[in-house]
Symmetry: C3
């Protein structure tokens, strides 16, 4: 199975700024600390959200907006590299004021209300790099 | 961006007691191990639940109860300090017997059926301390 | 409270194969790296899913299938030992193309579309071992 052991790197805690784009803010944290590969976890709230879902048949992402304040119940994912740039891949479960959940792939357009983020660097060896995968049509890790 | 690197501390695994209050049990684990700052993750089930959602407009938490057994699908969050006391901030996704999800901020009143908890201490430097944040009305980390 | 400190072990990143059974693939990663106790986290997508929920009154798992492609929004859980074998216990939140969430205990029958998995070994001391727990009817850790 495609798997690799990494050395533990640094552990970064961040408080993301009110009004920031969630995806961009995560990339900024990674870049400010010079982190190329990391695992990401966060909780908080967003002022509004934009999620995506990958259609496995058509191989295209569908995106939709949720134009309302939501709890960021869970954010889980990772930072790796794609064409020499920081690639943030995170999924989120959001909840409205009645506790109803919405889940998916985090797209640009999620606006931070408050967010407590943990980043665990994975160091040692070649950084994980995304490359086009024929079987799924997705940019998956080609060197895991 | 407000972010800080921490040294890794101890890693604690806990089995929370049947019938315990989920929030109180997490605080007890942290205190028994002398942990001031940590990341928290758990799965399990609750006998009943009480969740909250922060209303970003009125700046007040609304709380509601779910008086039924539920799977604790995901619990994610952290332990830090507030006014010298242990502050547990965790969010949860719960599911009923049909898989329907409810999500939010964990309030007092979630009663443990079974819970497998992982706590990763963040050591080194000044412990993260919550202080009132004007922009959101929330007790956010003032010294991240 | 039943809790124990562990030494940190190895950190493994895996890309699970297209078409694999999610539970079996996680066990394979652990076994290939000789890991007996670990925490598990993942995101990705499944071609179809099978979830379970433990009925706290009847003490039996109910299972159901979701015969459709779904985002694997969050997978959280652990690897420990039961009767000398690898025991994978993970919970998942899944979302359909409209973002509607389904959550529960991951059963055999979740077929991987793509999955990025992180495994953090917990080393040192006696491996966590599951044993029948009278109070819940579940195989919980008897030596945490």
């Amino acid at each position: 199975m495609a798997s690799r052991e990494f050395a533990r790197g640094r552990r970064v805690v961040a408080r993301l700024p009110f009004g920031a784009d969630l995806l961009e803010a995560i990339a900024t944290v990674a870049e400010e600390h010079g982190v190329k590969v990391a695992e990401i976890r966060a909780i908080g709230a967003v002022q509004r959200a934009r999620l995506a879902c990958y259609d496995q048949a058509t191989r295209a992402y569908g995106e939709w907006s949720l134009d309302q304040p939501l709890e960021l119940v869970t954010l889980l994912g990772n930072v790796s590299q794609r064409d020499g740039a920081t690639a943030v891949h995170v999924h989120a479960t959001l909840a409205d004021y009645d506790g109803v959940c919405f889940g998916g792939h985090v797209a640009r357009g999620c606006v931070v209300f408050a967010c407590e983020l943990f980043l665990q660097e994975l160091a040692g060896g070649e950084p994980l790099e995304r490359a086009y995968d024929d079987e799924t049509g997705l940019p998956l890790w080609g060197n895991v």
